[in-house]
Amino acid sequence: MLAFLLFTIEIIVSYLLQNTVFAALSIANAVPDLLVIVAVAAGYQNSRLRGMAVGFFCGLILDIGSGGILGVYALFYMIIGYICGHFHNYYVQHDIFFPLMLIAFSELAVCAANYVFGFLIRGDLRLMVYVKTIFVPRILYTVIISLVYYILLDILYERILNRKAEDEAFLTPESILAEDARKESVM
């Protein structure tokens, strides 16, 4: 229940910030994609299913705001959330480098999908122009903002969802040794 509320508030706040505050603070006509950060964080820090669900609603709110066909962004962000959920195995608390890479690649995928389905199918082959004017500023701005925003989300998950580090990092050698030690002490 708490998780549901947390994610709902996060998605709405990210969407509003993206469309209003960051639209005014745009650099080179680019706005950071906060919803991608939310979707990646939800998948990476939780599980595939949560990543999928949060990704779906991130995409859905973008669809609703953009006035086009419903479900296009929802499908894409859902897949992003699921794939990042796969990387939950490698989750290390307070690490920023790996999620930053995930966010950069996810944002690249979103931009590429936008180009392919919005422009390529209309015969617009000027990919390099769009890469220079839209992809690069957007990915850079998103990654820079995620330095702050992702850490914020990480802290929120930690405090509000009361995750304990031992429950999550079950692939590290220390955790396996700790588990073995615990089993031995029980026996």
């Binding site: 299913l49 609703i64 066909i69 699921y82 957007r138």
Partner: protein
């Protein structure tokens, strides 16, 4: 990798993903075939977000005002002087133009053209949100069907065309600006009377231009000629200034000319717009 926890609900998430992908595809097809079904949901959710966006806009405006109070007094004084000089120059120009206007009205009456560009009724609106994908140039304004907005109403800012309303909700409207790739405006180059089409172009926008095409090959148009919306446009009212021409060249096939257009409106710093409340069809049929 086999020490991943098995989900407590027994179904592997990848099957749930496949199911959800199917559902999403169905949603896409459904909302493409039956857009009206999803309209109430879309408009309902958007209208819930609009008050929050308006709130942020108001707070942003107040912060702007607060920071403006700290502007240097000397700077303001210098700006004031420059503006006073500009004002006197403009006043002189205006007087000369008033004389020309009087003559023009006379000629128009003689040629019975005085109904051609009537004064349109306008309503002001604030921009409260912009599309953030970077690929589309649409924004949301804070007036909707409750304020009398309808789809296809033209939107201006100060002296130039900004775009057209594409969607209307109870308390918001979505405007597609002329710099969007999907935007095509039938236009006329005023001095020569040539018709052309003004297309939005995201790729050129960094240089500050959008495209003009289908100019007749014999056109005498030169740089800095003004381009207005034409009578031939289906949705745009005639006589609205769009921008200034530049870089006129022949199209590759040699049948038409193409050019760049510098829009009059500064899209990056747009805050408030004016919506013309008359639709083109109403003007034509005289409603």
């Amino acid at each position: 990798m086999n020490s991943r926890k098995k989900p407590s609900y027994g179904i592997e998430p990848k099957y749930i993903l496949m199911l959800c992908i199917m559902l999403c595809l169905c949603l896409i097809l459904f909302s493409y075939r039956f857009p009206k079904v999803f309209d109430p949901i879309r408009k309902g959710l958007n209208s819930c977000l609009v008050p929050m966006q308006k709130g942020i806009h108001v707070i942003g405006g107040q912060i702007d005002e607060l920071s403006a109070k700290f502007d240097d007094i000397d700077e303001l004084r210098a700006e004031n002087e420059a503006l006073q000089r500009e004002l006197t120059e403009l006043r002189d120009k205006n007087e000369m133009l008033e004389q020309d206007l009087y003559d023009m009205e006379l000629y128009k009456q003689l040629l019975e053209l005085d109904k051609s560009y009537p004064e349109y009724k306008k309503v002001g609106a604030n921009i409260i949100a912009r599309d953030s994908s970077g690929f589309y140039a649409t924004f949301t304004i804070d007036k909707g069907s409750k304020n009398g907005m309808k789809v296809d109403m033209n939107v201006l800012a100060d002296n130039g065309l900004v775009g057209i309303i594409t969607e209307v909700g109870p308390n918001y409207s979505i405007v597609r600006s002329i710099i969007d790739d999907n935007s095509y405006v039938s236009a006329t180059i005023m001095k020569t009377g040539d018709n052309c089409i003004v297309c939005g172009s995201l790729a050129l926008l960094n240089k500050g231009f959008i495209r003009v095409r289908d100019i007749t090959i014999n056109s005498q148009a030169k740089s800095n000629y003004k381009v207005y919306t034409s009578d031939l446009s289906e949705k745009y009212l005639p006589g609205l200034l769009i921008g200034y021409l530049s870089n006129i060249t022949n199209e590759a096939d040699g049948m038409t000319k193409v050019a760049y257009l510098t829009p009059v409106v500064d899209f990056e710093h747009l805050q408030t717009v004016l919506v013309i409340t008359q639709l083109k069809e109403n003007v034509v049929t005289g409603n």
